[in-house]
């Protein structure tokens, strides 16, 4: 019940790293420890092009959550630490988060997959300043991303609320998919919210970008670099990111109802 930790090494995870951004990933007592690759020659700002780990989203009772059914999803993205060289020129800009999508495999296929996701990026390491990063399927075979400006100090805890349906899948219609996020400080500082951004809202406004399948919802974690290429083979140290990704979900497998009669 309640929060569940996302485990990128769980038995039902489907993982891919199409641009080889990570050297390894580990789960240490619920903390995700991602070690970046020594080098990466692909500069991309889209989380679906990062290392991704997808699981079938289930409710608290183990039942699968489908797009044809109502569900409510809250995610929590937590920065813990980062070592190595990052966030400078020719260094990875650490980015990580969660999202939902239609396909567990080939997540970065912009023609066959639909998604929306939200997380953090650490563009400025001073005082743990972060930006919120979002991405979505767009135009039927493309993607879009949005990136807030650097928020204030101590913004390592990020929450995202998803609005999905009922006009998705067979009933696909735009204006039924959105995510809104906030960020702030940790529990020890009373979760003080960053006020430079009231909320970070991102929606899908094109029919051909909306989830168009009624079946299984996949929850995916993403870890990578927001832009930049790097090569530490002769100098520098590949960064290691430690973070936690959690989610809270409610769902009705009986469907939406809503006959209006």
């Amino acid at each position: 019940m309640g929060w569940r930790n996302f485990d990128p090494l769980a038995a039902d995870v489907v993982a891919e790293d199409p641009n080889s951004m990570l050297a390894s990933i580990a789960n240490t007592g619920g903390n995700i420890v991602a070690t970046f690759a020594t080098a990466c020659n692909v500069d991309t700002e889209h989380p679906t092009n990062f290392a991704v780990y997808a699981i079938p989203l289930t409710n608290n009772y183990g039942e699968p959550v489908n797009f044809a059914e109502p569900f409510s999803l809250l995610t929590q993205i937590e920065f813990i630490s980062a070592t190595g060289d990052h966030s400078g020129n020719a260094q990875p800009e650490l980015a990580w988060g969660l999202g939902i999508c239609e396909n567990a495999t080939d997540i970065d296929n912009q023609t066959t997959n639909k998604w929306i996701c939200h997380g953090l990026s650490q563009g400025n390491v001073t005082n743990n300043q972060h930006s919120m990063l979002q991405s979505k399927s767009y135009g039927g075979n493309s993607s879009q991303r949005s990136y807030t400006s650097n928020m204030g100090a101590n913004t390592g805890l990020c929450h995202a609320r998803y609005y999905i349906g009922p006009a998705v899948g067979t009933n696909e219609d735009c204006e039924s998919v959105a995510v809104a996020g906030t960020a702030g400080d940790y529990s020890g500082n009373n979760y003080t919210k960053d006020t430079s951004i009231s909320y970070d809202y991102y929606d899908i406004a094109q029919n051909n970008s909306v989830f168009d399948e009624d079946g299984q919802v996949y929850l995916f974690a993403w870890v990578g670099s927001y832009g930049n290429t790097w090569d530490f083979s002769s100098s520098g140290t590949a960064p290691v990111l430690t973070c936690r990704l959690r989610y809270l979900v409610q769902h009705d497998p009986a469907g939406w109802g809503g006959t209006g009669t």
Binding site: Y61, H159, S176, G258, G260
Partner: protein, 300 residues
């Protein structure tokens, strides 16, 4: 040879079971639920006497609202009217506070409307407005300092034109005013905001900061046609509304009260009308981390 023993053994599991049946998925909100506190001493005034603007019958499984045939004028705020509220609980009956991380989705389903009803065009007939939301005050719902956030639907169909209940329907969002004193209800455009919709679906977000200066609470809502009409979105984009430090919630220990509210917002007095009867259903689904709370220490 086996035998049984009456000597108690060790407890095999860490818990001893649930203390109440699980209520997963959609739950229907009934204003007549015995767990509800009712606000029935405020609302539309009839002569000099305070009275609720309507009566409620939920014996059929629907919320059937029969409005008064006359009154001296109401307000635009649903929470001034007939309001029922109860503690928000998890699937397993645990009470949720504002310091608890929770997900909450609501759905208002409009079924039908009969009798005399109209819009603000001066016909002096009932104009129903209904909402569902959460608040801090568990009983004095219409208090001017009751922090609340709710969404609803305002009926604008005219019986004089034989209009169906979804005709020109408008969405509403309710909260305290930005200075924290008194109420405010914003409404979508009469002809593009929610017109021809019978469903309103809302996601609520609260916390974890209880002292922020900007939007520790927000909601997202949109309006849809019914399942038989493929949940079409007739008009507008999802609307998101954030609430500032004077409007949002400021006490983690306070129980979240889930409320439904009904009001006749016709501001002019009238009498002798045929009672407007509005049939709706209120739904909600909720889950929380009752024991672990938000976490988020930022340390390994």
């Amino acid at each position: 040879m086996s035998y049984s023993s009456r000597i108690p053994g060790n407890i095999a599991k860490r818990t001893t079971g649930r203390n109440s049946p699980v209520e997963k998925g959609w739950r229907q909100f009934f204003l007549s639920d015995p767990r509800c506190v009712l606000q029935n001493n405020t609302g539309v005034t009839v002569s000099s006497n305070a009275a609720a603007p309507c009566s409620i019958n939920e014996s059929t499984g629907n919320t059937v609202i029969t409005f008064l045939t006359g009154h001296d004028g109401g307000t635009a705020f649903p929470i001034d009217g007939y309001v029922a509220g109860m503690p928000l609980r998890t699937d397993e009956g645990d009470i949720i506070t504002f310091g608890t991380p929770f997900v909450l989705k609501t759905m208002i389903e409009v079924v039908s409307m009969t009798g005399d009803h109209s819009d603000q065009g001066g016909e002096h007939m009932t104009q129903p407005t209904i909402s569902i939301g959460i608040c801090m005050n568990a009983s004095d719902f219409d208090a001017d300092d009751n922090r609340h956030m709710g969404t609803g639907l305002r009926m604008c169909a005219r019986s004089s034109a034989s209009e169906d209940v979804e005709e020109d329907i408008r969405w509403t969002v309710d909260s305290l005013q930005t200075d924290g004193s008194g109420k405010v209800t914003s409404a979508g455009n009469a002809y593009s905001g929610a017109n021809n919709s019978k469903l309103q679906v809302t996601e609520f977000h609260v916390g974890p900061d209880m002292a922020t200066q900007a939007s520790n609470a927000f909601l997202m809502h949109n309006e849809f046609q019914t399942s038989g009409d493929s949940f079409n979105v007739p008009n507008a984009s999802i609307d998101i509304d954030g609430f500032n430090a004077n409007q949002g919630f400021d006490d983690a220990a306070t129980t979240v009260t889930l409320y439904a509210a009904i009001q006749d917002m016709e501001t002019d007095s009238f009498s002798g009308n045929t009672a407007c009867v509005l049939t709706v259903r209120f739904w909600y689904m909720v889950e929380a981390d009752f024991h672990g709370l938000w976490g988020g220490s930022g340390s390994a």
